[in-house]
């Protein structure tokens, strides 16, 4: 008896857990689905109806139309069939049994549409055009001085994709490496100024990177470094280091002291302990920071724009240029946004398995 009630209790609680999670996940994913759907729609449709209209729903469908005679005074109540209504009412639509009368356009059209409520199944008005355009570069067409039509293909994304990889991979690994060494140094080595330096590092967390753009650019100009990958790696390293040191210190600093002491007694040097013991132990922490740094670099636009310029365009710049001055080409923006999401998501799934063992200090210590 007691067993049964506890197992049914368990079932209820499991049901509650799943239900809550499903609700939260739905809330989280619906905006994204909306944009995914939007990215397959034609640009005119995007602006004129909501994305959910591609789902099956009941809608008024035109079945016939009535053209009013010139003699009908549209400013006075109008009689159509057995109803008499004003223009304003007709404009909003007048329901008459299972039919609806609705005025088309303004008074001058003298046109009334008769609509019926019908089921609309999946809307077929979807297109891959947005994606092909974004992938292959948007065509620019115009006539040149002699009247001949010129067609120029815009930049395609493959070069930009490679550039983004070349920027993001080292700009993720380098700061992690440097930060891991520093975090170990702060946590397990004794040296003068340790606390002060650490406080400075943590305080720099809050410095907005925009204040550094101009001075760094001046230095880069002097060093003739603008437009190189090195320039942007260093910049991302510098801007990402405080968080990296802070997070990794949090983890490395609370690894069990006994493990390290045992290694010291065996005569291992700091360097050996770090590379052989600490790094493997910190994989979850390194992996989660790697994800965030990668995402940040991948989605960065400003730093790339300033230090990399036009020559080695990354995905974000290429997308921004493609969307053009118009800025409101939602069909390109949405499809571009989805394309640029693919790699970060792949990285997340690849690194996800490292999260299982627990990342942070509290876990092992307590």
């Amino acid at each position: 008896m007691a067993d049964k009630s506890s197992s049914s209790q368990k079932r209820t609680s499991r049901f509650l857990v799943e239900a809550t999670l499903i609700v939260i996940s739905l809330i989280w994913i619906i905006p994204t689905i909306g944009v995914l759907v939007t990215s397959f729609r034609h640009s005119q449709d995007i602006f004129s109806s909501g994305w959910w209209t591609i789902l099956p729903h009941r809608d008024w469908v035109e079945v016939s139309e009535i053209r009013l005679d010139e003699s009908v005074d549209v400013d006075a109540p109008i009689t159509i069939g057995d109803v008499t209504v004003t223009f304003e009412e007709l404009r909003q639509g007048v329901e008459d049994g299972n039919q609806k009368l609705i005025w088309f356009g303004n008074k001058r059209t003298r046109l009334v549409k008769v609509q019926e409520l019908q089921w609309k199944m999946f809307d077929t008005q979807l297109t891959l055009e947005n994606y092909t355009n974004v992938l292959s570069g948007i065509e620019v067409r115009f006539k040149d001085a002699s009247g001949a039509e010129i067609v120029r293909q815009g930049n395609n994304l493959s070069v930009a994709f490679l550039n983004s990889v070349a920027v993001a991979v080292p700009a993720t690994i380098i700061p992690i490496l440097i930060a891991a060494f520093a975090a170990y140094g702060f946590a397990w080595m004794n040296f003068p100024g340790r606390k002060i330096f650490f406080i400075i590092v943590v305080a720099l967390l809050v410095v907005p990177l925009q204040i550094a753009l101009v001075p760094i650019l001046q230095d880069y100009t002097r060093l003739n470094l603008n437009g190189t990958y090195l320039a942007i790696w260093l910049a991302h390293t510098g801007f990402g280091l405080p968080l990296a040191v802070y997070l990794l210190f949090n983890y490395i600093g609370t690894l069990p002291r006994e493990t390290l002491e045992a290694a010291f007694i065996d005569g291992a040097s700091h360097f050996t302990i770090f590379t052989r013991l600490i790094l493997p132990l910190s994989v979850p922490a390194l992996a989660s920071f790697a994800i965030f740094q990668f995402l940040w670099v991948w989605n960065d636009y400003l730093v790339a724009l300033v230090f990399l310029g036009d020559k080695n365009r990354v995905m974000t710049s290429a997308l921004a240029a493609m969307v053009g001055e118009k800025g409101q080409d939602w069909h390109f923006l949405t499809s571009g946004a989805f394309l640029s999401m693919l790699l970060p998501l792949a990285v997340f799934f690849a690194l996800q398995r490292y999260f299982v063992r627990g990342m942070m200090a509290g876990s092992i210590k307590s």
Partner: protein, 373 residues
């Protein structure tokens, strides 16, 4: 500091002290600089070469990552071949030196420069006293920005942590954990421009009139429930909360990932023991889980808090800071890059820096309590 020196003679002590610190400084600076020089030349070469893009990309990745790894390897090798006492003195700087050098170059020195600029006028030529600070602390738009940042810090951080924790705890008990986590995490992979587009389709308002069909999800729901469509982003202070929702949507994935790992790290015996003792799930959660992951919670809270303080992309993309949604970082950006008023922009940045000091102090106290230092 010179306690390790066995010499009782003061002079030798001072000499060692000077030598040690000079070489520490040298190690901190010299090694990164050599690496930098090597990498630098390699990149000038790469930038000007005409090899196929894919080759350049691969070579530069190897060159960059390998170069940095080599830096530590070689400098450590050199230090370890020194006498033991010197190895002991210098090795920490092999570890922390490069990080300190880079931070000094990329953040610390620009911060000092900003501090100087904050006392200068618009063009950066004349001394302006405290004028920039007076502006930053009294202007109506700035005060509005401070109020909004407070909202962001309190509500943004709280909801990020709360929802991240809730999902982490619940997902831990579900067989579909990975799916849920991937869904919650997904927004993090979206750029701010992308996120801006996504939420424009939620908050869009097309106005009132005959035949206007809303394309915004929120308005569609309101209309379906029999309400009237609203211009969501125009009514302060509620529009701030709608923008905070975007940040929560974006950042909960971060909190969830880290908190979830911390929860998984709690020894299961600890939880089982409590359950056997008759504790209910709430008692287990508040009595055992929360204390166990406290340091993680604080780390995540700190980073989210700082993120919400520095945040400006969401505001810039969604409302441009109009209609009472301005935040400090956006005002900084506008002053610096649109108005070209570096003095005011610098003062704002410095205030931002000062605003976060309490959080930092709290963090350091925590570290001390955990005897991390």
């Amino acid at each position: 500091m010179n306690s390790s020196s066995s010499s009782s003679q003061k002079q030798t002590g001072i000499l060692v002290w000077i030598a040690a610190n000079t070489s520490r400084l040298l190690i901190s600076l010299f090694v990164p600089i050599i690496t930098f020089l090597i990498l630098w030349q390699g990149f000038l070469f790469l930038r000007d070469s005409n090899a196929p893009q894919i080759v350049i990309v691969l070579v530069s990745i190897l060159w960059g990552v390998g170069g940095v790894a080599l830096l530590y390897f070689i400098s450590n090798y050199i230090i370890e071949s020194l006498p033991r006492a010197w190895t002991y003195r210098l090795q920490p700087f092999v570890f922390v030196g490069p990080a300190l050098a880079i931070l000094a170059w990329f953040l610390a020195i620009p911060t000092l420069r900003t501090l100087r600029l904050s006392f200068l006028n618009e063009t950066g030529f004349q001394f302006a006293g405290l004028n920039n600070y007076i502006f930053a602390l009294t202007d109506r738009i700035m005060l509005e920005a401070f109020r909004n940042n407070l909202l962001w810090m309190i509500f943004g951080t709280f909801f990020c942590l709360a929802s991240g924790l809730l999902i982490a705890v619940l997902a831990d008990r579900s067989p579909f954990e990975k799916i849920y986590k991937a869904i919650i995490f997904m927004p993090m992979a979206i750029s701010f421009v992308g996120a801006g587009v996504i939420w424009k389709f939620v908050y869009a308002y097309k106005g009132e009139g005959v035949g206007i069909q809303e394309i915004g999800l929120l308005n569609a729901i309101v209309i379906a429930l029999g309400g009237k469509s609203q211009a969501w982003l125009l009514t302060p202070p509620w529009n701030n909360f709608l923008l905070i929702v975007i940040m929560v949507w974006l950042q909960t994935g971060y909190a969830m990932v880290i908190l979830s790992s911390a929860i998984k790290g709690i020894p299961s015996e600890l939880l089982e023991a409590a359950r056997v003792d008759g504790a209910n799930e709430f008692q287990v959660f508040f009595g055992i889980m929360i204390p166990s992951i406290q340091s993680t919670l604080m780390a995540v809270g700190t980073t989210v808090l700082i993120f919400s303080l520095k945040l400006f992309d969401i505001v810039r993309v969604m409302t441009g800071g109009n209609n009472g949604t301005n935040v400090i970082a956006n005002e900084f950006y506008i002053q610096q890059f649109t108005y070209g008023h570096s003095g005011r922009a610098s003062a704002i940045a410095i205030i931002l820096l000062i605003a976060v000091i309490p959080v930092m102090l709290y963090n350091l106290r925590e570290f001390r309590e955990r005897r991390a230092f």
